[in-house]
Symmetry: none
Subunit: 210 residues, 4 copies
């Protein structure tokens, strides 16, 4: 247990950042929860900001990884590719719901630190989505539309369940970290791709390709 103090710190940090926010969490709180000395955090991450940075990096490294990996299958069609991305990202969020929730929230703050980390990943994500949408328009899989507005909608649908998990649980009785949710919500996301984004449903794709 004492061996990986670093991991314990990260775990504690994610949990507390998620409940109380970054500036609402003190390094002492984290240290207490992780059962290490306060100075140990400085030892591993230099700063409180360093710890935040580590969490963000950790999250987005994998986040972008999923997108990049799925993008390799672009040749099987834009819709197919997008569906896979949506599926993988949803799965990733479900598995790391606390981290996702906290990262999405903190992203919206004016922090210089966050801003710098984010920009790279945001641009990468935009790049891939843009590519896929353009391909979809070209091959007439998707209804022509403003790409930024599509990105908003897609991200809105994807992120929403993790932006306010407390509301999800206590008002809607939906539990985003249960496997049942993942299956069910994935269908809804695919429905959006099929109905709103695409021309008129899954069958169209075949017709066009031919």
């Amino acid at each position: 247990m004492k061996k990986n103090a670093k991991e314990a710190i990260v775990r504690a940090a994610i949990s507390l950042f998620n409940s109380n926010g970054y500036s609402g969490t003190s390094v002492r709180d984290i240290a207490n929860l992780a059962r290490v000395n306060t100075a140990t955090i400085a030892y591993y991450f230099n700063n409180k900001a360093g710890l935040l940075e580590y969490c963000f990096m950790h999250f987005f490294e994998q986040y972008i990884g999923k997108i990049e990996e799925a993008y390799l299958s672009i040749d099987r069609g834009a819709k197919e590719c997008l569906k896979r991305i949506v599926s993988d990202l949803l799965h990733y969020q479900c598995e790391n719901s606390q981290l996702a929730s906290f990262v999405y929230r903190e992203m919206s703050m004016d922090s210089q630190v966050v801003r710098e980390i984010m920009s790279t990943y945001s641009l990468k994500e935009k790049y891939y989505l843009q590519k896929i949408f353009e391909r979809g328009f070209e091959w007439q899989e998707f209804r022509p539309h403003s790409i930024p507005y599509l990105i908003i909608q897609l991200k809105g649908l994807l992120m929403m369940p993790f932006m306010n998990t407390q509301y999800m649980r206590e008002v809607l009785y939906i539990f985003p970290n249960e496997p049942f949710f993942e299956q069910k919500y994935l269908k809804d996301l695919h429905a959006w791709i099929d109905k709103t984004l695409s021309f008129e449903g899954p069958m169209m794709k075949g017709a066009v390709i031919k």
Copy 2:
């Protein structure tokens, strides 16, 4: 200028809470921006928490007001009613984008204060949406579907542009407080209602009624 110190405080608070978060903002920062003394904040709102509460109340009072008002037109059809709600809420958010942005973010925190204020409004909102969806199913305007999952999607689409305005501006070049955005995004929301939520478009409704 000295007359309405209270209003100045609220304006400053919304702005700073939006950029730095609630716990990332000190009452002294607010006081400085509002050009009043720190103690004046305590005089009007007792607490920093009291100021937060005031902002939340202010926001949700109007937010629910819009929904209640629009709900009166339920007899003209569920889809029509829902479209009006979406339109009004979007407009309200655009006009108060800072407040909306900050409220949506802070809602996701584990604060006891926020929790208590929220619960009432969240339940009211759910109540009206539920009524509308049920009516839509009954009159066969909407595809039958799990109501909570519809609420997530609707709220996701509605809230997303205001959850991370910085990302919107700097990555997607979309400016949620400009009138152009409102018009354009409203169409997308209506498209979701027509394509994904409803059976197959605006004309269907008449057909069914017949």
Copy 3:
């Protein structure tokens, strides 16, 4: 009730000063208890210090008054006179136990304000007691002894029950504002005068005078 706001303030002040001490009591607390506005206190007493001063003056004016009045009967013998003083002061303390308790405590602070008020009264008190003791020695009513040391003992015995009323009540089950206490304790004080201060008891006095 609104007529004599001043009296209400004083009453509230005595009560709160007694429980929480002078610096432990805020003018807002006093104002709240007296059901007046905070500024009303400033109106009547200028200062918080002014209110304290008023309480002290009020207490010592009467305190010294009792001594002066009793001193008029010095010709009936020093012991007789001292017993009357002791009796009157004890009675006065019992009737104003809260005020007495608080004044005795606050006297021991290094406050400049208190110091100045006190000095006059302390010197007056000392003057009369000194006179009485000297007379007692001269007429051989009292055992010759250092006057300051006698004053300490006398004051110690007189003040003690009011210096820690909470201890009196909760540990010794003695209630200094009940009439029973006054009667009983007065006997003890007289006993001290008879046994320790005087030569050998009440009867001696007559013998000497003869």
Copy 4:
């Protein structure tokens, strides 16, 4: 000097609490006098209240210790034992006059903190005094009398010189921390035991035992 910051804080605290009272003293004042940082006080004592508690504990631990130690000699007679207690306590107070003065004053406040600490010690003290008085009555060393009333008088005589040292110095010209005072006042206390408490003087004890 930097080594024992804790001790420096306690010394400074006792001095300032004594002059200005607990609530009249700010932690910054204490920190300045002790030449440490304000936060250092929180580091060692958590709270301002924690520092107060420490002072009280420190005082009463030794105070009760003196009583308990002296009580061991109860077999040599109640009067003898009581005289030793009085002697030891007087000596202890003289050596720690500032602390004693401040503790006695603060005891009379309605503070919850103080109340809790006190109760234990007050009861212990009462227990031993009661035992001694009862023994004294039984062996006919002491005049039968209500024990609580005896305790008041004894404590009044013992504590008085330290309850208002400023008055002692400036009005009576008595300096409670000088050795001369201790000797002289001890005689007075013994006189009270011999004259008022006991039957008729030191020799009586032997007579009764026979």
